[in-house]
């Protein structure tokens, strides 16, 4: 499993460094916010851009996410989780909200995102995996999925579609969509963990 943890936990020491950074942010240290931004803005911006597909809106989302991190830095400690996972969760939730707002569909799936606890991934990471290295591992694992598994996961993750909408979009029965999403995620877990 270490690779999966390594992929998620970010560069070695980043998790611990992020926690220190958030503690400083909670005390009102703007330099700490600048550090957090320099460390994670690329990933946050790239995810926002992939979902919303509009540079201006992606920039707005990045600003909102870091503003929220700034405001909530003090409360974050209690969550004892991984900071980048938290930032990415906020990013996806805000981007999908905007996407849904744009399509004037009120039923937002993203409220359920924020309800999910972020797993405690502060496990030892002894591997030097750069951002690019992690990206290529995850991309390679995605390529091993069947077309159906990959497309269903992407529609849920990047388009924020509900399983009912995915079933309609792909003209597949609901049961098939559910099964393939779960199988796809299990396969990803296996590939990311088994690359050892």
């Amino acid at each position: 499993m270490w690779l999966l943890w390594a992929v998620i936990a970010g560069p070695p020491g980043a998790t611990a460094a992020d926690h220190t950074t958030l503690e400083r942010m909670a005390r009102g240290d703007h330099e700490a916010l600048a550090e957090l931004y320099d460390r994670h803005s690329r990933l946050v911006y790239s995810l926002a851009l992939r979902i919303i597909r509009d540079q201006g809106e992606a920039e707005d989302i990045v600003q909102e996410v870091f503003s929220q991190a700034w405001r909530q830095a003090g409360r974050y400690e209690a969550r004892r989780g991984n900071v980048i996972a938290w930032l990415l969760n906020l990013t996806r939730s805000r981007a999908i909200d905007r996407l849904r707002g744009r399509q004037s569909r009120p039923e937002a799936a993203s409220d359920s995102l924020l309800a999910i606890d972020i797993p405690d991934l502060t496990l030892p990471v002894d591997e030097q995996l750069s951002l690019e290295g992690r990206a290529s591992r995850v991309r390679a694992a995605m390529k091993e999925l069947s077309v159906l598994q990959r497309v269903a996961i992407e529609l849920a993750f990047y388009e924020g579609l509900t399983h009912v909408e995915i079933a309609e979009r792909l003209e597949l029965p609901l049961g098939t969509v559910k099964t393939r999403i779960r199988q796809g995620l299990l396969k990803l877990k296996d590939r990311l963990a088994g690359a050892m």
């Binding site: 999966l4 600048a34 993203s110 077309v147 559910k178």
Partner: protein
């Protein structure tokens, strides 16, 4: 009972971690999680996978100005932006010969300045006109891009569906079934393509319109009892093309059939058979 419950819930874990369960569905699944250690463990494992997904996105650097904007929004003083304005070195050499400048040279310099400012004014006007023109072009281009994006989205959906179908049709374990209309629908005909790994593609035409409260149901015929593949809804012309999954544990089908059943479907066929065919 607990096992039955668990089977019904198992596939929800993927939807849950992707955040696609909303409202009551989510509450119901969370209630199940509270009683099921197996699902809880799976949710924990899959949450980690979902956290890794953003790394698959093509990585793009945010615009440089965004950093200052983020810091300003948090009320950071200007000084904490990375770049500090370097002090310009004093242009010492300029003062050396200043006293030797003649009056003529001063006049020349003034005239040159005047010419320069007139020229700059004209240049500014010209620039403003060009910007106006470019803004118009840009807004045209943006509307064209919007249209293109819409078309692209439609094409992407069509391609996604085509990819699904291709995955079945190119499976090494593909089996084909020709379905013939039965006495209830002699004009109907259908075809099915089945692969254990990639699922079932089914197409039919000339299916009679359904009476209210009834549905067509598709069946895998097996050496044992028929297994439901799913419900099918033909269009107004009696045509249908759809893809289905193979329910886990289904034996290799010996054929495919379509029957008419009460709305919502039934676990075993009860109504008249409309289409049937054997695996080739």
């Amino acid at each position: 009972m607990a096992d039955l419950d668990h089977d019904a819930w198992r596939d929800e874990a993927g939807l849950y971690v992707l955040g696609t369960l909303a409202g009551k569905e989510r509450e119901a699944f969370e209630a199940h999680l509270a009683t099921c250690a197996e699902c809880t463990a799976e949710v924990r494992a899959l949450e980690g996978v979902v956290t890794a997904l953003p790394y698959a996105v093509p990585q793009v650097d945010p615009p440089a100005a965004l950093r200052a904007r983020v810091l300003a929004a948090a009320g950071a003083p200007q000084a904490s932006s990375r770049a500090t304005v370097a002090q310009m070195p004093a242009p010492a050499h300029l003062s050396v010969n200043r006293t030797h400048l003649s009056v003529n040279a001063a006049w020349l310099a003034a005239a040159a300045l005047l010419l320069l400012s007139v020229g700059l004014g004209a240049y500014a006007l010209n620039l403003r006109e060009r910007i106006g023109g470019l803004e118009g072009q840009l807004s045209d281009a943006v509307s064209r891009l919007d249209l293109t994006e819409q078309r692209l989205a439609e094409a992407t959906r069509a391609a996604e569906r085509a990819q699904m179908r291709m995955a079945v049709l190119t499976s090494p374990d593909l089996k084909q079934v020709s379905l013939k209309g039965q006495p209830a629908a002699p004009g109907a005909a259908g075809r099915a393509f089945w692969s254990r790994s990639n699922g079932l593609l089914f197409a039919a035409n000339e299916l009679p319109p359904l009476p209210a409260g009834r549905t067509y149901q598709l069946w895998f015929l097996t050496p044992g009892a028929p297994v439901s593949a799913g419900l099918i809804k033909p269009d107004q012309n009696g045509r249908i093309a759809a893809a289905f999954d193979t329910p886990p544990g289904t034996p290799d089908p010996t054929g495919i059939a379509v029957s008419i059943e009460p709305e919502g479907g039934v676990p075993a066929p009860t109504g008249a058979i409309y289409l049937a065919g054997l695996t080739q």
